[in-house]
């Protein structure tokens, strides 16, 4: 066995790949993040908004992109293509080639002059071909790395970009490079490819300009998209009035061989109609669908809002054809309503395209030596959803199966946990820690400010008179040095800044150049290397917010730049060095709940060397899994359960408390103290993190004669009977959505359709003559489970739809059970006399959630499930640091999803546990206790629970938990007595900035 290597290769730079990389890098591993394209970000960068919160995709993604781009332990390998993978888990040799970008990544400043001067226009793939870009380009303005690339196919080789690039970054002769990476494990997250809708020729995509794909529509909706956020149709730029969405294009389609459901399309179609209507309230949106698969957390609520609040029309019908009206280029959508063909005219048709395995998937599978399933997605099993067929190689995101963003993110964290656990011993061996000189004490010194004004090639200097600014800055109080730079961000200027700090004894540094959002970290690092505290740096944005937006007003732009620099100098004079508090971490985890999720999380923590306390209120481990006897697929859940329980019990690092209850939780990230009631004793546990895995329970129906008649069962009870061989019935009826999707619980329980199909198939397997009727509202066998739905239908299981107005009626007259169900096509009540009536009962939250949420100060949804920090990008985190979430406690989900989440929660937890001490932000709130009146306003406002009230000298004062404060400043600006100041954004600093921006004169 070769030595293990503490590095991981992550293939695919989409949101899944980025999340996996961040988790790995944050827990002490070197990460190579590879993507074929020149930038990271994947498909999410093309999205306008995200469901169900309608967040702007770029807003929530960009900070992650920047963090990944700047992470000292993440090395981006852009334009990479895998050739071969040798070795075994713990030590792989990955051969890859790097396609030439032809722009030097070190030198390119991303200023974009090259693209402005490039004479060649090409189709902009990022905007789905709806606009043009140049032959030298970045995919999108916020791209990471912000380095341009030359499209060799389009470039005519005129040499202009090289000439205009003042940074000398263009390298035409760059050639393909072969690289060999030595890594311990591999995470595959290559994402998906959109289904090519021109293959569904009946819909006219490619022939009719006003038939577009959903991703094109996404770009149309985007404010930074081709139409600047106006909803227009491509044929003539008119505002459409009637938009049709056609679902399942390339999904659930046997003719194409894509039987599976693409998971996200129903929701994104709803989202796109809502956003479109927000753009243009007169718009009529119609969604043509087969089943509305709004199965996720809060999805059904979103679905009904679309229908009720926004007036989106939903038509349950498969569209057979789309035809163009030649004169108007409008479109006739031919569909079938109640067996009758119907034509309806629209101005624009959006095809909800499904997901396909990524391009070149066969080659990828071959290079990595992994198996694919029949649809060419990565082959996985129910109980090992993150493992590929080759040990040491893990999978996450849409490459495993179609899924949405939060599922991908959670899975990515899960894959990170898996990838880390086999090389846990190598943690920290390949990561870099920078040696820094000790900080110079500048307290009590008069401010000595050095200002560096950037030309940014011609980006600033071409508009703003930079030498004039430099001369002007020199006249400002406390400025002892000022100079101009061609590029202040270049490597040689960093050296200069350090030299000038020494030479002029600078104790504050101001850079006037581009945006602090991307460049502040670089300059902070530079002054820190020269011994200055990083908070003694400030930045003035005279490019993005001045020269670029006032290109034709040289004088006014110069005046504005002066104001901006004066204003930032005024702030700089008041800057104070801040300490980044260090918080010690107790390297121990607490997992609440001993079901499948809890056990999985505990095992992952233990495998990576951390002690775990696993608290279960029942007398035995296993939770809901104890009641599951079959899965779709070949694995035996009970066998798996016992092996997991064995593994947990035998692991020395896992301390299991059965029949235990949490009495109290105190403390904060890194330093929690929890009291347990265990066997009548109180036990105190110190731990650094908490994972909430409290699970959920099956709803006990009050409807359909449940409990009144023994022939009426829940699905779980049916499963028990099937497993025990006690099943004996000629006719079985199943009713879906019992206790869910109603007024009390508007959301879908997600797993019941799959469960019903599973049990129905089992019935057919045991007794093929038994008739099975399934009464449903929508069949939500999402993702690859769709196969089993199809199988069930082909086995003669009858699926009969009902709606809320005509629910099945169950009666018991003189013995036999009678189910009356409305046949939707015939519109008659169909009587069935089943031997068994099986109710697909809702999954409802654990009643303990309320108590635990109060102890942890974390929120619940209206339904009573735990509410994560962010529905899209932080699905297993809480806003409160150090507390994580997985399994059914989050929302109903399938086994593989719970496992992925549990592993993910462990990975997230380990980003904390793996550190001896956490460094937290220095720019946080600070309380002047003398001024605090103890009114508790701040405590109520803080979303992070970072403010705690404490009794001190007989009065109640607020204290800031440094570890939890994010520095937003909401408390500071709300404090009635002015007792809270926001460090680095103090009132004095901001006011000085405001005054200086408005006044030439020095104002104190």
């Amino acid at each position: 066995m070769k030595d293990k290597v503490g590095a991981v290769l992550v293939v695919g730079g989409g949101i899944a790949g980025i999340q996996a990389s961040l988790d790995l890098a944050d827990s002490g591993f070197k990460v190579y993040l590879l993507d074929e394209s020149p930038t990271i970000g994947g498909t999410m960068t093309q999205l306008d908004k995200t469901f169900p919160t309608n967040d702007c995709a770029m807003c929530i993604l960009a900070p992650k992109l920047v963090t990944a781009g700047r992470h000292p332990n993440i090395e981006l390998v852009m334009g990479g293509e895998i050739r071969s993978v040798e070795g075994e888990e713990g030590n792989f040799k990955v051969k890859l080639i790097r396609r030439p970008r032809r722009v030097n990544e070190e030198k390119c400043t991303g200023c974009g002059v090259c693209a402005q001067k490039c004479p060649v226009e090409a189709i902009d793939e990022f905007n789905q071909g709806l606009s043009e870009r140049c032959a030298i380009y970045v995919k999108y303005p916020q791209a990471v790395p912000l380095v341009f690339a030359i499209d060799r196919d389009k470039c005519i080789g005129c040499g202009t970009c090289q000439e205009v690039c003042k940074a000398g970054a263009i390298e035409y002769d760059e050639e393909e490079k072969e690289i060999v990476l030595n890594v311990g494990s591999i995470v595959l997250a290559p994402g998906f490819e959109e289904f090519d809708p021109s293959l569904k020729s009946e819909y006219g995509y490619g022939r009719y300009p006003n038939v577009i794909s959903s991703i094109e529509f996404e770009r149309i909706l985007s404010a930074s998209g081709p139409y600047g956020g106006m909803v227009l149709r491509p044929s003539d730029g008119e505002v459409p009035r009637r938009v049709a969405f056609i679902q399942c294009v390339g999904s659930r389609d046997a003719k194409l061989g894509n039987n599976y459901c693409s998971f996200a399309c129903c929701m994104y179609a709803i989202k796109e109609s809502i956003i479109a209507k927000e753009h243009n309230p007169d718009l009529q949106c119609t969604i043509f669908f087969m089943d509305m698969r709004a199965f996720g957390k809060e999805f059904d609520a979103y679905y009904s809002r679309a229908e009720e609040e926004y007036g989106v029309r939903f038509v349950r019908s498969r569209v057979s054809r789309v035809e163009e009206v030649p004169e108007s280029q409008n479109l006739i959508v031919r569909h079938v309503v109640e067996e009758e063909p119907k034509d309806e005219e629209f101005d624009l048709v959006v095809l909800s395209v499904g997901m396909r395995p990524p391009k070149g998937v066969e080659g990828l599978a071959k290079a990595f030596g992994i198996k694919l399933n029949k649809y060419n997605f990565c082959s996985t099993e129910t109980f090992s959803p993150l493992e590929t067929s080759r040990p040491g190689i893990y999978v996450c995101g849409t490459f495993a199966a179609p899924k949405d963003i939060p599922e991908s993110v959670a899975q990515a964290s899960g894959a990170a946990a898996k990838a880390a656990s086999i090389i846990a011993t190598e943690r920290g061996k390949l990561t870099v820690i920078k040696e820094l000189p000790s900080e110079i004490d500048v307290s009590g010194e008069e401010p000595r400010i050095g200002a560096f004004i950037c030309h940014c090639g011609i980006n600033i200097g071409g508009v703003v008179n930079v030498p004039e600014i430099v001369e002007y800055v020199k006249t400002l109080p406390n400025v002892v040095y000022a100079e101009e730079n061609l590029y202040t961000c270049s490597q040689d200027t960093q050296k200069r800044i350090r030299e000038k700090i020494k030479e002029h004894n600078l104790n504050r540094v101001v850079v006037a150049s581009c945006t602090p959002r991307t460049h502040e970290p670089l300059f902070r690092e530079t002054i820190r290397e020269a011994g200055l505290n990083i908070y003694l740096f400030e930045m003035s944005n005279i490019r993005d917010q001045c020269s670029w937006v006032h290109m034709h007003e040289h004088e006014k732009a110069t005046e504005k730049a002066k104001d901006l620099v004066r204003s930032i100098v005024a702030k700089a004079r008041l800057l104070k060095p801040l300490k980044k508090p260090m918080i010690n971490v107790v390297p121990v985890g607490l997992v609440i709940g001993g079901g499948l999720s809890g056990m999985t999380a505990a095992l992952e923590l233990a495998k990576q060397g951390f002690d775990v306390h696993l608290v279960e209120k029942e007398k035995e481990l296993g939770g809901n899994l104890r009641h599951i006897h079959y899965v779709l697929g070949s694995e035996d859940p009970q066998e798996r359960l016992s092996s997991i329980v064995k593994e947990v019990s035998e692991n020395e690092k896992i301390h299991v408390y059965l029949g235990a209850e949490i009495a109290n939780i105190e403390g904060y990230v890194g330093n929690f103290k929890t009291t347990l009631n265990h066997n009548g004793e109180k036990k105190e546990i110190d731990h650094g993190i908490v994972i909430v895995a409290t699970g959920a329970i099956e709803y006990k129906p009050t409807e359909y004669l449940y409990k009144e008649d023994e022939r009426v069962l829940t699905q779980r009870e049916l499963e028990e009977r099937l497993a025990k061989g006690e099943f004996n019935a000629k006719t079985v009826a199943m009713i879906q959505c019992v206790g869910s999707r109603n007024e009390e619980r508007p959301n879908c329980s997600r797993i019941c359709c799959v469960q019903a199909v599973k049990n129905a198939l089992k019935i057919k397997e045991l007794s093929s003559e038994t008739d099975v009727y399934v009464f449903y509202k929508d069949v939500r066998t999402y993702g690859l489970n769709e196969d089993y739905y199809r199988e069930a239908a082909s086995r003669g299981i009858l699926f009969i739809r009902y709606d809320d107005e005509n629910k099945p009626r169950v009666s018991r007259e003189n013995g036999p059970l009678k189910v009356l169900a409305m046949e939707p096509v015939l519109k008659t009540w169909l009587p069935i006399e089943p031997d068994l009536l099986v109710l697909s009962a809702a999954t409802i939250p654990n009643p303990d959630n309320q108590r635990i949420s109060e102890m942890l100060k974390v929120p619940l949804t209206k339904d009573g499930f735990f509410l994560e920090a962010h529905m899209k990008l932080r699905p297993i985190d809480f806003a409160t640091e150090g507390v994580f979430l997985c399994g059914l406690a989050h929302s109903p989900k399938l086994i593989e999803e719970s496992i992925s989440q549990a592993c993910g929660a462990a990975a997230r937890a380990i980003t904390i546990l793996s550190k001896k001490a956490l460094e937290v932000e220095g720019a946080i709130a600070s309380v002047n206790e003398d001024l605090c009146s103890g009114c508790r306003i701040c405590e109520a406002l803080c979303e992070y629970g970072a403010i705690k009230m404490e009794g001190k000298d007989g009065k109640l004062v607020s204290t800031v938990l440094e570890a939890l404060c994010k520095g937003c400043g909401v408390c500071g600006s709300s404090c009635p007595t002015g007792a809270i100041s926001m460090l680095h954004f103090t009132d004095d600093e901001i006011l000085a900035q405001v005054r200086a921006a408005l006044r030439e004169k020095k104002h104190d």
Binding site: T53, N54, D55, C56, A57, M58, C59, I60, A62, P63, G112, P141, Q142, S222, A223, S224, G228, G229, T515, P516, R517, N541, D544, Q545, C546, S547, W548, V549, H550, M551, H552, E553, K556, A557, E559, K560, L564, S567, A923, E943, K966, G967, C968, G969, V970, G972, S973, S974, M982, F985, D987, I990, L991, Q993, V994, R995, A997, L998, R999, H1003
Partner: protein, 145 residues
């Protein structure tokens, strides 16, 4: 005669509005050079005192821009707080003799460079119509007196 060029102070949250303003630049969307931007981490950080001080120091308009409601806020709900606060302050401004239109709150996402530019254009136009701020000194007494 030189035209009245209003001075506008903009408080922009770091995550959405400031990023949107950057995008306007990256996309080279032009807007009038009347705004001076102060970056804060969250629109919820904007203390009413900042706004009043800006008016007192001679601002003809103040813009507060943050992440879109309801849930774009990087700090979960800071934008709601900002919104409530600005609405209250607008009423207060009237009492001070400042037209409430001089104070604006806008939601600008990181991908809305165009919107940011439009907001600045509109606001500059509107304040040009209103003319110079009626008070630059008298507020001082009210706040600090």
């Amino acid at each position: 005669m030189t035209e009245f060029e209003p001075k506008i102070v903009g408080f922009l949250c770091n995550w959405c509005a400031y990023a949107g303003a950057d995008l306007a630049g990256v996309s080279r969307i032009q807007y009038p050079p009347n705004i001076r931007i102060v970056r804060v981490m969250c629109s919820g950080r904007v203390d009413p005192v900042f706004i009043l001080e800006a008016f007192r120091s001679g601002a003809d308009g103040v813009l507060v821009a943050g992440c879109h409601l309801p849930s774009d806020c990087h700090y979960i709900s800071g934008n709601f707080k900002a919104h409530r606060r600005i609405m209250m302050l607008k009423k207060l401004l009237l009492q001070f003799g400042i037209e409430p239109e001089r104070l604006r709150i806008e939601w600008v996402s990181a991908s809305e460079g165009d919107k940011f530019a439009t907001v600045i254009k509109d606001m500059t136009e509107e304040i040009k119509k209103l003319g110079p701020s009626p008070l630059k000194v008298q507020v001082e007494g009210l706040i600090y007196g």
